[in-house]
Symmetry: C2
Subunit: 199 residues, 2 copies
């Protein structure tokens, strides 16, 4: 049993399916993409979808779950070698800046999923947001910010607004503005704690 090196090493159907579905869901929305289209673009048989994921809903959950895990991993990779907690926070914006154009400025995929399925509580979406908030709290605490909990909520709010604006305007400008605003906000609350300590 050897892994073919020269050939494109045709990947198993389940993986091709998830890759194709992820790209289509992100670009056009979940409800707007039917399984027929996913199957055609992935070059995969219908039965493979239902044996691997059980249903379209199963595929959707696999998409969101992997999205969460990958986004965390991408941030973790990006902050390797960065010690400054503020720069680590701004990395969230930097990653969004880098990926927004390639995703047609579709904004936050978690927000999009929550919009398309307003009645469901989607576990990976909630988990991702909680991770983001917890990470921000820890970093702001390390940065010496006054009231890290409140500031973390505010930074996340700015992050949400930045991605929403990017979707509206099909531009990275709102993300840039959000980055600047977050940086200034953090700088201000660092000063506040310093001033308080001085007094």
């Amino acid at each position: 049993m050897r892994t073919p090196v020269e050939t494109p090493a045709k990947r198993p159907p389940a993986e091709r399916l998830l890759d194709t579905a992820s790209a289509l869901f992100a670009e056009f929305g979940i409800r707007a993409v039917g399984v027929d289209r996913i199957l055609a673009e992935a070059g995969v048989a219908r039965a493979s979808l239902y044996s691997s994921y059980g249903s379209k809903d199963g595929l959707v959950h696999a998409y969101l779950d992997r999205l969460d895990r990958r986004d965390r991993a991408r941030w973790n990779d990006a902050v390797v070698g960065i010690d400054d907690p503020v720069r680590r926070i701004l990395t969230f914006f930097d990653l969004a800046l880098a990926s927004a154009p390639g995703k047609n400025f579709r904004g936050c995929q978690y927000a999009n999923a929550a919009t398309e399925f307003p009645e469901e509580r989607i576990e990976p979406v909630l988990a991702h947001r909680e991770w983001l908030l917890d990470t921000l709290v820890g970093l702001l605490d390390r940065a010496g910010a006054a009231d890290p909990g409140l500031t973390a909520e505010r930074v996340r709010l700015i992050y949400d607004g930045a991605l929403a604006g990017s979707k509206f305007e099909h531009s990275i400008e709102p993300i840039r503005r959000g980055r600047d605003l977050a940086a200034e906000l953090i700088e201000a609350v660092r000063g506040a704690r310093r001033a308080h300590a001085d007094a």
Copy 2:
């Protein structure tokens, strides 16, 4: 020809249709609501929809157009008697705070529409955002803020983030936080201009 006063004055089908559709679109999303359901809940005949609006798409556009006009009117009514430009700005957040629970914390309906139809450029959505920004610029200028253009963009970004957070958390807390953050931001840039003028 008299207007009946005592009876509920059964309103014409086109209006009932738009009211029902607006409520359903807002709560469950546009794609998720079929015309059958709208017709049933409005108690209106099928043909009335197509004679009044031409198609479901026509109904959707009427919904978004009226939403824009009503939101502007609602803000205009709310700021009657309020002179302070900062309080006028915060009225945007106050209105969102008041209406969010009744709308099941579905966030910004313009953002939701943009999410559900990523390929279209939806005119009322763009117009509403432009009106919001222009209004903010004028008020911030009157408030004596440094760089009203930039600050207006930032306030709108905070507003977007507040509504997005409200949708995620099914709570008005993010809107409250956005209001506070916007108030502090405006106060800071007012101080900046005063300080600059003093120097």
